[in-house]
């Protein structure tokens, strides 16, 4: 599928291979036995550095964009355009007093943020950030990723439980309710991808999305009807999994003070925020890998841009989407949250599972049959959506406000 006219395949371009060359240059002089270990350490350091910086500047971008959406400039005093704000925040968090409630479980209270950050980070190990750029090559990397992601909610419960504070505990209960509700559609939406790609390995899934239909339409999963539906369900569930607005019930500021964060201060508090952004970044990276073609360029002519840049662009777009959504929607109530999951997302994902299966079974249809295949798939998305949306909003007709109508 790669352009035959190109002098060399894009995989050989110098920029494309730069990270690998750099790693080889750095580890080349080591004895063979040590080399994989040092290489692994290097990838860990890179992931920590890149995602640490990404976290820092995501907080700034979030505050700036939220500000702009609310007709104000956002932080702009620390350095040019407020660019040093994340560092000022870090210094503030580091120098603050670390208060541990006397009644708290000291060990768990300390461990919770650490475990949370660690669990949010390890998922990133299996994301292919570019051609040949994956820290750990694994057969069942998708499974591993979601296992690590599910464990983060355990850390949140740990934080709530260890604080010995009723708000924290309530928040922790909410977190568990949310976990159970949204882990299901999250995983169900991924299954059709695995069915179609025929592999649990993230590298293979990205490879399966390579190439273009008619030279223009990328084979990304999100650009097929079933894939789009799965992508939408995945993103909604990812929002909930990373405790982001409008699903930020565990830390609903207005109801639970700060939820499980109530008894945390200083750097531990910052760690929770770091974990939130890392979790968000990890889930977005997974969404890019599963649905948006991973590091694949959208057009063949754009392949001269290195693969990791494409991955970065897609990741940033998804993260901006998270911010945009946060700026727009009000928080759901806990019953609305579980209702949305069990009555809408889960059935939609289940129907989509069949839809993905049909797509996989009809992979060899060509010509007019391909059009029929698309049509069937689209039908399999639109019809259940309409019916489920009807049943979800039944009895919840448009409200009339007596005094507040415009």
């Amino acid at each position: 599928m790669i352009l035959a006219a190109a002098p060399a395949s894009p995989a050989d371009a110098w920029l494309e291979r730069a990270p690998v060359l750099l790693r080889d240059a750095l580890t080349g002089w080591l004895p063979d036995a040590l080399r994989p270990w040092v290489a692994a350490l290097l990838s860990i350091a890179t992931i920590l550095g890149v995602f640490g910086l990404l976290f820092a500047y995501m907080t700034l971008a979030e505050r700036k964009i939220l500000g702009r959406i609310q007709n104000r400039p956002g932080p702009n005093r620390t350095g040019p355009f407020g660019l040093l704000q994340p560092f000022a925040d870090a210094i503030k968090a580091l120098t603050k007093e670390d208060i541990v409630p006397r009644a708290a479980d000291q060990v768990l209270h300390f461990l919770a943020p650490v475990v949370l950050v660690a669990l949010s980070l390890i998922g990133l190990a299996v994301i292919p950030f570019g051609r040949n750029l994956v820290a750990v090559e694994m057969e069942a990397s998708v499974l591993y990723f979601f296992a690590a992601g599910a464990a983060t909610e355990l850390a949140i419960f740990m934080a709530g439980w260890a604080s010995r504070n009723k708000y924290s505990l309530l928040a922790a209960m909410r977190a568990l309710a949310q976990l159970i509700s949204y882990e299901v559609p999250l995983l169900l939406s991924v299954v059709p991808v695995i069915v179609v790609a025929g592999s649990l390995s993230t590298t293979d899934i990205v490879a399966a999305q390579g190439g273009w239909a008619a030279g223009l339409w990328p084979h990304w999963h999100a650009l097929t009807p079933w894939g789009f539906s799965a992508f939408a369900v995945f993103m909604v569930a990812a929002l909930a999994e990373s405790n982001r607005s409008p699903f930020d019930l565990p830390e609903a500021e207005s109801e639970l003070i700060a939820g499980h964060l109530t008894e945390y201060s200083g750097f531990k508090y910052a760690l929770f925020f770091m974990a939130e952004y890392l979790g968000m970044a990890a889930l977005s990276a997974m969404a890019v890998t599963l649905f948006l073609g991973g590091w694949q360029a959208p057009l063949a002519v754009l392949e001269f841009i290195p693969s990791y840049a494409w991955f970065g662009v897609k990741l940033l777009l998804l993260l901006l989407g998270f911010i945009w959504i946060r700026a727009t929607f009000p928080r759901l109530r806990i019953d609305q949250l579980t209702r949305l999951s069990w009555k809408f997302l889960v059935p939609l994902a289940l129907v989509n599972l069949i839809n993905g299966g049909v797509w996989a079974a009809t992979a060899d249809w060509t010509g007019a049959a391909a059009v029929v295949r698309w049509f069937i798939s689209a039908l399999g998305v639109v019809v259940p959506f309409i019916f489920l949306a009807r049943s979800l909003s039944a009895g919840y007709g448009p409200r009339t406000y007596r005094y507040a109508s415009p």
């Binding site: 959406i69 609310q70 007709n71 400039p73 945009w324 700026a327 727009t328 979800l392």
Partner: protein, 224 residues
Amino acid sequence: MLGKGLLQGLAVTAKNLVGSYHDPARYVTQEYPEVQPKLPEAYRNFPFLVSETADDPMGTLRCVACQICEKECPPQCIYIEKSKDKKPDANGKLQIYPAVFAIDTAVCMSCQICVEVCPFDAIKMDQEFAIAATDRFDGLLLNREQLAKPNAYYHQIHPTEASEVDARLAAERRAAEEKARLAAAAKAAAPKAAAPTAAAAPGVPAASASPGSIPPPGPPPSSS
């Protein structure tokens, strides 16, 4: 249809985000210390003392230390000491003046009662809000020198109100002058012809129109 409202909401916020870069109506924040706010004319916070001129504020204070405002101020934050001597005010009339006039802005609640009760239009509300001080006792206790601001400044901050006040003061001054002139004229006319009161006719209608005018047989109309 589920999702329509969500998309509409997203469109609204997106419009705001993009609009904040080119549409001033969507970017209403003023960055305060650099951009000073345009205060509405009716904005008020603490009182100031009006002086007629800017060059000699202490000499031309309108305040005559009548102490009405001091008595009326609900939180009792005005402190006045009368002068022993008299000084000519802006109109050249001898008046006592406040030797000490202090307002404790830490206590003042900006109620404007002092302004309303002052019969001499001598105290008005200021718009200066950045009066933070490091010492809450002396720093916030404004004395007469700090409180005195020229009438021109009053015009600047409350133009409508200041013009009204000026017009009223001018009218009063004219009326007083007229009265004084009439009184002088009447005094001059009285010894000349006591019986024909019609001699004073040009000025009389104004006086006799007022309900309290004295019946003709009496002495010539005079306010004293």
